[in-house]
Symmetry: C2
Subunit: 414 residues, 2 copies
């Protein structure tokens, strides 16, 4: 894409009321626009990065055999009344409104109830199980405080997956498979080393749930980790009992600030029994379905990546998440840049060409702020030296490559 065709302009300052560093940088670089606290529009750069994160997650979800769907935002009261979760005293993040008929409606802050209810149309027999489904859903949560930018939104994108199994054994097998799939995802997102499967508060059926917590100073959680033993415990369940169960001493644990990037939860048969999701087994017996839920905070992850990797010049993103892989900048030499740009497009290299008539310093500052991983400069100087100058966003030194060396390098790395 040519940068002259990109309508967003970088900005020297973020809005005064924006306190979160991730949102400040994402606004200044033109990834997002702040509509109100905790609600950000995704501008072209932002939508590109979010789609790339979604695609990484989607691939792993599909690999696990899950079907993609998309539930509605509008929620009917009856369903949530049945589980006691319509009550604002129980769930304090509801946005609610009224249909013209006067009936109350809610806006989806979670989709556990409607997905469980919907499955009653599709699950009747043991032959219909197991079932795994997932969605990328825009959740609405009426948060009292929304000061963490993309890391805690009133409106945000979440991937939520749900499993429906015959029994505990089938449930557990998928639960473990999902932990593996999530580990793959965090690997691809470039934060696997700092992300820990963490013991956290459970529910009616299990003592613990599992959270995926990523070390991040701007996070809202505190966990205790032991890197060698690969143990992590959310401080909310850090009791003598927990320590004993996991065979670890408090002194062996390191206290770290984290952001919850994923979580997995075992409902057992509780929700199915309440909402009436049963199946008939081989012997004709009616049994409640085992249900689990598995979330990943898609927009939050973009916030976490910005918080973790940004430097004083701006955003730094991994190659597979940045809105473009390559930022082509010409200083003069329009024809040469145009030729190289077209060659890259032919090779399907994901390139943004800064073809604007600006001073080199402005182009470089914009490039650092936006944080595209590979910066290619074509100028009199680079041509004299034998080609184009390649500089990684994460490195300070650059090197000169010929056009064909460059193309070879960039196509190899895909």
């Amino acid at each position: 894409m040519k940068q002259s065709q990109l309508f967003t302009k970088t900005q020297k300052f973020a809005p005064k009321d924006e306190q979160a560093r991730n949102a400040q940088l994402l606004i200044r670089a033109g990834y997002i626009h702040k509509e109100m606290a905790g609600a950000y529009a995704l501008l072209p750069l932002g939508i590109r990065s979010i789609e790339k994160i979604k695609q990484i997650v989607r691939q792993e979800m599909n690999r696990s055999g899950a079907n993609e769907l998309l539930m509605t935002g509008l929620q009917k009261k009856e369903l949530w009344d049945a589980t006691g979760r319509w009550d604002d005293k129980i769930v304090d993040v509801w946005f609610k409104s009224e249909l013209k008929s006067g009936a109350e409606v809610g806006f989806g802050w979670s989709h556990e109830e409607p997905i469980c209810d919907m499955m009653k149309s599709h699950i009747a027999s043991f032959r219909d199980l197991p079932v795994y489904v997932y969605q990328f859903q825009t959740k609405l949560r009426n948060e009292l405080r929304a000061k963490s930018g993309m890391m805690r939104g009133r409106e945000f994108v979440m991937k939520d997956m749900y499993s429906f199994a015959r029994d505990e054994q089938e449930h557990e097998a998928f639960y473990q498979e999902c932990i593996n799939a999530y580990s793959m995802i965090f690997e691809e997102l470039g934060i696997s080393e700092d992300t820990f499967v963490t013991f956290a508060t459970g529910g009616a059926f299990t003592e613990f749930s599992h959270e995926f917590q990523t070390i991040c100073d701007a996070g809202e959680d505190t966990i205790y980790i032991n890197r060698e033993k690969n143990i992590a415990i959310n401080e909310e369940v850090l009791t003598q009992n927990t320590l004993k169960k996991l065979g670890v001493k408090k002194e062996e644990l390191e206290k770290v600030r984290t952001a919850e990037t994923g979580n997995i939860f075992n409902f057992g048969t509780e929700k199915s029994e309440t909402l009436g999701l049963y199946y008939t087994d081989e012997s004709g017996q009616k049994l409640p379905v085992w249900m689990g839920s598995y979330g990943i905070g898609i927009t939050r992850i973009l916030g976490v990546l910005v918080e973790k990797f940004a430097d004083d010049k701006g955003i730094v993103l991994p190659e597979n998440i940045a809105p473009f892989r390559v930022h082509l900048i010409n200083i003069g030499k329009e024809d040469e840049a145009d030729r190289l740009y077209k060659k890259m497009l032919e090779k399907n290299i994901d390139v943004l060409w800064d073809d604007r008539n600006l001073r080199p310093g402005e182009k470089f500052a914009d490039s650092d702020l936006i944080g595209i991983p590979n910066r290619i400069v074509i100028s009199d100087k680079s041509i004299e030296a034998g080609g184009v100058e390649l500089k990684k966003r994460t490195e300070s030194s650059s090197k000169i490559l010929s056009d064909s060396q460059l193309i070879k390098r960039l196509t190899k790395e895909i």
Copy 2:
């Protein structure tokens, strides 16, 4: 995909409260789930078809130079107060709620105001214009009646594009280009012959707006058309004055029932002046930006296609919209089917294999209900006759092809 992996089951009956034929069929075939009147979840088959429609639209939008973005659902009152459209007496489809702080918020039924306001951060000079942006947005509208299934939702997906231009001339040029882009889209959707650029109610700046109206008995609009002269007039503007201007007599017009599948609207500088979107021209003069909006009803189009093409056996969809292009059905012969299925996947043929252990009649009935365009049957009979049986959903006769003939044919048609 193997049908045994698809969690949805076809259903003999639609919910009793569902009156619209499109929704009845889409529910029975497993494309959608009714959450409440006018709000349908997209199940795997539905999400596939909707994504295909979006992709057709996205390609044309990108070709026109527009940038994709995604505004928020949450809307702030101040902005809509400024244009007088927060008032429920002026706009009667708002869903509204309250932030914890007590401030009122709305849910996006339209995004004209926030997009115009957002552009103030990115448009300052004549050098920044023109700008074209679009989004696929889930709109929420508190409709009094929502009885038309996917054709009028309380929650539905719309593609809305917006143009920002220096002056009337620049605006008009894009407006015409958009009419052409939309015509291409309706061509690809297979409904161009029945879709008419229709004169409709204008606004403060123009006598008329333009709607894209598609002939459809279940539609909610009435228009008058002359196919030879390629003229179409919404009955709401069918006056002597309009007839005179368009050089057509009422007797020459045919009255048809239609669904509004797209619309384009010229705001002139009205909204920009109200919300303060100005630019500085070459001479340093401050001028308001010309704005236009261009919508296409994405989920409505799926409803229209079902209404128009379905037969008494079920859904019929064009090759490029159906959730899969090919439905492979085996009667016995699992190994042969498995081999052919893998060969198709290798060739990137979009295939659903009904690998379930059901009677042939059940498989055929499901296939007709779902409406995949090409049905391939592999059975003792077909193998004896020389290969597999290919039947188009729209034809009653079938033909026998060898595997390689079949693959050749299906890859050619992509």
